[in-house]
Amino acid sequence: MATETQPDATTRESRRSGPLVALTRRIENLGETGFAYLLLTPVFLLLGTVALYPLLRTFELSLYQNLVGIGQAEFVGVENYVNLFTGESDRWLPGSTTFLPGVSVDGNFPFVHLDGLLRSALAVTLIFTLVSVFFETLIGFGQALVLDQEFRGRGWVRAAIIIPWAIPIVIQGMIFFLMFHPDTGFLTAYLAEWGIVAPTNTLNDTASALLIVTVGDIWKTSAFMALLILAGLQSIDRGLYDVAEVAGATKWQRFKLITFPLILPTLGIAILFRTIQAMRIYGLIDSVSSCTVVPSLSCMVVETFNNQRGLSAALAFVTAAIIGIAVMGVIYQQYKSGDI
C-alpha cells in the first residue's frame, strides 16, 4: 500500500539500521553526564598514556636504585631523595664546579647538609627564576603601559614586542650564543673590562653563562608578561580615570590609586605563571652554554637519565615538587576568584 512505502519521518528514522545509525542513536540516548564523558574519552586516553602514566611511573622509578644494564632494580625507598640532599649522589651529577659553596652545617644535623645544593642545581634554578621573573615583570609592565596608549603604529609596536616571545628556543639560544661568544660578540670584551663576564671562554664560565641565559630569558618572555598585564589594564573601567581627572588627580595619582590596585590580581597570576615556566629552564641553557656549566634542575634530569635512572626520576620529582609550590599558589588564586 502507498502509506506503507511512504512512512512518515519519525518512523523512517527509527527503522533505518546499520552500525553507524545504531551508534548515533545510542549516543543520543545517553544522559548529559554520559555524553560529556564520552566526548572526553580522547582526552583521557591521551593524557592518561602520555602524561599520567609517565608521572606515576617516574615516581615509582624514583624509589628504586636502577643501574642500567646491571641486574634487577633494587627497591631503596626514599634513599634517592635523601642522597640528593646529603651530597651522596653528587658524584653522579654532571659538572665539576659547584656554583655556590656547600651549605654544610655538618655532622650533628644531617638535614642541613646541603652539599652544594644538589650540586648547585637548586641554587641555579632559583636564582635564574627570581632574577628573570623580577625583571620580566618590571619590563613587561612598562611595555604594557606603552601598549595601553592610543597612538599611530600601535599594532606594529605590539607585533615587534611579541616577536621575541614567538621565536624558537633554539634560535633564542643561538642569538645569545652569537652575541656573547668571545670570538663573535662585540659586547664581551667591553663587559669583561667591567668585570661583568669572563673575558675568555665566557660561555663556559658558570656565573657569566647564568647571567647571559637570564638576560636571554628576560628578552624573550617580557613580552608574555606584557600581554597578560595589558589584558588586565584593558579590563579596567575607563570611567574611573575620568572621575579621577575631574577630581583633579595627577597622572601619578591615577596610576597609584586606580591602575596599580586593580592590576594587582592579574599581576599575581602572571608572576606565578611565569615562575612555573621559568623553573623548567632547559633548552636555553643547552643551546647557549651547556648543562654541565649551568646546571638547572631539568638539566640534571636529562644528564642523568641514561645511567642513573632512579636518581634522575627523584630529581624530576624534586623539580615537580618545587614547581608544585608555585602551582598551589595559582590554584588558590583561581579558586579564590571563583574561576574553577
Binding site: 591521551l46 593524557l47 612598562g142 628556543i169 650564543f177
Partner: protein
C-alpha cells in the same frame, strides 16, 4: 606667570625650562609625549636589536667576523656576503629540518584541535558531576615540568615494555617510536593540549544557548548540533588554538632535542637538530649559524604579523581564564 620676567632672565636655561614645565600644561603634555616616545623607541630597539645582530653576522664574511673589527657604536655588516644564505642549505640539508618541524607542528595541531574541540565543548557548555575536578586535573598536569614525563616516555619509545606502575605487571610492548614523528607528536600533543582546551572552553562558553536549543528544536541530533552549529561558530577560537599550538611545537626544545637521537633529518629531527648541528659540527662558521637562525625564525615572524590578534587573545585567555 608665577615668576616675574626680570628674575626669570637671571635663571639658567634648565631652571627656566623646569619652571615652564611646572606652570604650563601644554609644555607638560609635550614632555610626557616625548618621554612616551623615548620609552617606546627603547623597547623597540631592545626587542629588535638581536635580530639585527643576526642579520649583521649572516651578511658579514666569516673571516671578518673572526677578526672582530666591528665599528661601534653603529654596528653594521663588515662586507656583504648574501651567499651565506645559500651555503646554509649546502652544508647540511637545513630545509629538511625546517620541513620536519612543519610536519610535526601540523600533525600535532590537528590532533590537539580535534581532541580539544570536544573537550572545550564539554567543559564550556555541559554541566556534569566531576567537571571542576577534571579541569583542575588537566590544569595540574599542564604545570608539571616536561622532565617529569621524560624517563617512562623515553623507555616506551625505544620499545621497552610498558609496566603498570606499582604492581609490576608488564602490559604490552609498544612499537619502537624513536626517530619517527610519533615520538615527538605524542608528547607535544599532551604538552600543548591543556592550553587549547582552556582557550576553546572560554570560546564555547560564550556561544549563546539559544542557538543550540534552536537547532535541537528543529530536530537536529545532539551530535548534529555540535558539528553543524557549535563548531562552525567557534571557528575563531579554533584558529587561535591552532596558531598557538603550531608556534608552540615549532618552538619546543625539550622533547625535540631528546627524542630525535641522531640529529639526522631522515630521522625526523626538527629545526632544533638543524640549528644545533651547526653549533656542534661547524663550530667556527658563525655566519652560517646566523643565517640558519634567520631562516628558521622567518616563518614565526610572518605568523606573528598575520595572526597577531589571535595570539594576543589566545595567550591572555589561556593564562588568565584557566
Amino acid at each position: 606667570m608665577a615668576t616675574d620676567p626680570d628674575s626669570e632672565s637671571n635663571l639658567g636655561p634648565l631652571s627656566r625650562w623646569t619652571n615652564r614645565i611646572i606652570t604650563d600644561q601644554d609644555a607638560r603634555d609635550r614632555l610626557y609625549r616625548g618621554l612616551f616616545y623615548a620609552i617606546t623607541v627603547f623597547f623597540l630597539v631592545t626587542t629588535l636589536f638581536p635580530f639585527y645582530w643576526l642579520l649583521v653576522l649572516a651578511l658579514t664574511p666569516n673571516s671578518e667576523i673572526l677578526s672582530g673589527g666591528w665599528d661601534l657604536p653603529f654596528l653594521r655588516p663588515q662586507g656583504f656576503n648574501p651567499a651565506a644564505f645559500q651555503e646554509v642549505f649546502q652544508q647540511i640539508p637545513f630545509h629538511l629540518y625546517v620541513l620536519n618541524s612543519f610536519i610535526l607542528a601540523t600533525l600535532t595541531t590537528i590532533i590537539v584541535l580535534i581532541i580539544a574541540s570536544l573537550a572545550g565543548y564539554v567543559f564550556g557548555r555541559l554541566e556534569f558531576p566531576g567537571r571542576g575536578l577534571l579541569m583542575l586535573g588537566i590544569l595540574m598536569i599542564s604545570y608539571f615540568p616536561p622532565a617529569a614525563f621524560l624517563l617512562p616516555l623515553f623507555d616506551a619509545f625505544v620499545g621497552n615494555p610498558i609496566v603498570a606502575p606499582f604492581i609490576n605487571v608488564e602490559l604490552f610492548t609498544p612499537p619502537r617510536l624513536v626517530n619517527t614523528p610519533g615520538a615527538m607528536v605524542l608528547p607535544f600533543s599532551a604538552l600543548f593540549l591543556p592550553l587549547s582546551i582552556f582557550i576553546l572552553t572560554t570560546f564555547y562558553a560564550q556561544i549563546p544557548d539559544g542557538l543550540e536549543d534552536a537547532a535541537r528544536v528543529e530536530g537536529t541530533t545532539r551530535l548534529g548540533a555540535l558539528f553543524r552549529v557549535i563548531i562552525p561558530l567557534s571557528a575563531p577560537g579554533v584558529a587561535t588554538a591552532a596558531v598557538l599550538t603550531f608556534i608552540s611545537v615549532y618552538n619546543e626544545y625539550f622533547f625535540s632535542s631528546i627524542m630525535s637521537l641522531q640529529n639526522e633529518p631522515q630521522e625526523w629531527s626538527p629545526l632544533v637538530g638543524g640549528i644545533l648541528s651547526y653549533q656542534t659540527q661547524y663550530t667556527t662558521e658563525f655566519n652560517l649559524m646566523a643565517a640558519a637562525a634567520v631562516i628558521g625564525v622567518l616563518p614565526v615572524v610572518i605568523l606573528v604579523i598575520i595572526a597577531q590578534e589571535k595570539i594576543v587573545s589566545g595567550l591572555t585567555a589561556g593564562a588568565l581564564k584557566e
